[in-house]
């Protein structure tokens, strides 16, 4: 080969870009790993419920009983953290951390240890990040999954280019389009969606997170068309006009949407949101409007328990579930 070719190759090397953007946003994964290793605190809202009514306490006890029963079911099965894909061409296949499942024209069923199953849609890319008894983590780069999970809260997480969905004991559908935008729709229980801030998405609700965009706002699946359009426009632009449209069209059953908007607005806009939310669901006694306007965590969580469609989770019960689970895992 001649010097001329060497020079040409050197020029081509020099011209290579020194910077290449990753195909997906890796920050949610970095942050999640830092949180998991105790190097960062969890996101702004940690769900705990400092005060509850007799009714919600009873409901919580009932839920806990159901959850404990499902834990006992897990105990009765062989405890395992293996990820198993069914209907692989040569029978079942175990997926190890670092491995990836890319479905073709057919969907696949995946067992997540003993905690549940995922239906992985056709043309979907799903990677296994971690498969342990105390932490199951996956990454959905593209396509759609339906998860059915019965495990202690926060054991199962799915990262996407636009956020991290953390299971709180439920069933949900997660979809990622070719641009990395993510849509989470919850069928049972509720899910935390972490995209810079935390969205709490109850059953019957969904949230759309734009890749590289502002955090999405949860909206009821059967909310009116104008409200859904207004939320979509607000998430994209944060324009006053779309905020006004949300406040105008939201009813009492849409209170969760307004509750999330408190954290996404400030100043006069936040005051307008609080006023409208207080009209739809009165601020509970024991907390003040000022606390809500300042986005005080405890006050916000107490307010949350009063909104339609929300379910309480009590920290002591969560801890009990975890203790039971760890005992199962040995």
């Amino acid at each position: 080969m001649s010097e001329h070719h060497d020079l040409e190759l050197k020029r081509a090397m020099d011209a290579l870009p020194r910077s290449i953007e990753p195909p997906e946003n890796l920050w949610p994964s970095v942050r999640s790993r830092l949180v998991d290793h105790g190097k960062l605190p969890r996101a702004r809202f940690v769900v705990d419920f400092p005060r509850t009514t007799v009714l919600t306490r009873r409901l919580a006890a009932l839920l806990a009983l159901l959850a404990l029963s499902s834990g006992a079911l897990a105990l009765s099965r062989h405890a395992s953290a293996q990820i198993r894909v069914h209907s692989w061409p040569n029978g079942n296949k175990l997926l190890e951390p670092g491995e990836q499942l890319v479905t073709g024209d057919r969907w696949q069923r995946v067992e997540i240890g003993t905690i549940g199953t995922i239906e992985v849609d056709s043309h979907t890319t799903l990677s296994i990040i971690e498969a342990r008894m105390t932490s199951q983590r996956m990454r959905l780069s593209r396509g759609s999954i339906r998860a059915f999970v019965d495990a202690p809260p926060r054991l199962f997480t799915v990262e996407t280019p636009a956020g991290i969905a953390t299971d709180m004991g439920c069933s949900y559908t997660l979809t990622v389009d070719s641009a990395g935008n993510t849509r989470l729709e919850v069928q049972l229980g509720w899910v935390e969606m972490n995209h810079r801030t935390l969205a709490l998405v109850p059953a019957g609700w969904h949230v759309a997170e734009r890749y590289g965009g502002s955090p999405g706002t949860p909206v009821r699946n059967d909310a009116s068309g104008p409200l859904q359009l207004a939320v979509d426009a607000f998430d994209a632009t944060h324009a006053d006009s779309s905020l006004s449209a949300i406040l105008r069209t939201a009813g009492p059953r849409d209170a969760v949407t307004l509750w999330h908007l408190i954290g996404q607005t400030g100043g006069v806009r936040r005051a307008r949101v609080v006023s409208r939310l207080a009209e739809l669901v009165p601020i509970p006694s024991g907390i003040t409007r000022q606390e809500i306007e300042s986005n005080n965590r405890e006050a916000m969580m107490l307010y949350w328990t009063k909104l339609p469609d929300t379910l309480p989770i009590i920290p002591t019960i969560q801890a009990a579930l975890w203790r039971l689970w760890l005992r199962i895992g040995g």
Partner: protein, 179 residues
């Protein structure tokens, strides 16, 4: 938060060092492209590159307090990224028991490059198709600007061996690009 490289990064680094995760996100956004490019070229695999990029920023968070500001933060991070990537690739090599110096992959079995008449041959694709050691040496020397003596020390090989890998990599690249 988005911080452009070189613009206000030092403030973000300072705040990140004090435990401000939002500031660290700014640091991440300012530098992720450069780190990912290194990880992609060194590993030759985009999934692995994503994982290595995460590892780099997690290590950076742990080591932020060792950054004294004597060099540019980008240079410090780049050096740290190189060490993280080389460490990970070394462990993988040990696990697969691939000999360190004798990277004699069957060149004829290398994946063929797809001809792309519209764009010309993609040099990055050609680099990705190189045998691992040849790829790592040529990336470190010809793209990242390290000297053979430094590369030898980083990879645990002799300086002459690094030169030989580089020579071989260039030959393979020229062959592939002239096809």
């Amino acid at each position: 938060m988005v911080v452009e490289p070189g613009a206000g990064v030092s403030g973000s680094v300072e705040r990140a060092r004090a435990g401000d995760a939002d500031a660290f996100e700014g640091v991440y956004r300012a530098h992720v492209g450069r780190v990912y490019a290194l990880c992609l070229r060194m590993s030759g695999d985009n999934i692995r590159a994503g994982e290595l990029t995460q590892d780099v920023f997690i290590r950076a968070w742990d080591k932020l307090d060792t950054f004294r500001g004597e060099s540019a933060f980008g240079s410090w991070l780049h050096r740290l990224a190189t060490n993280v990537v080389l460490g990970a690739l070394r462990s993988e090599r040990r696990r697969s028991e691939e000999p360190l110096e004798h990277d004699e992959s069957d060149e004829s079995a290398l994946p063929p490059l797809e001809p792309r008449p519209d764009l010309g041959l993609d040099l990055d694709e050609a680099i990705r198709s190189l045998p691992p050691m040849a790829r790592q040496v040529v990336v470190l020397h010809d793209i990242e600007g390290y000297e053979h003596a430094e590369i030898g020390a980083m990879l645990g090989i002799a300086e002459g061996t690094s030169k030989a890998h580089c020579f071989r990599a260039r030959r393979l690249l020229r062959e592939r690009l002239s096809r």
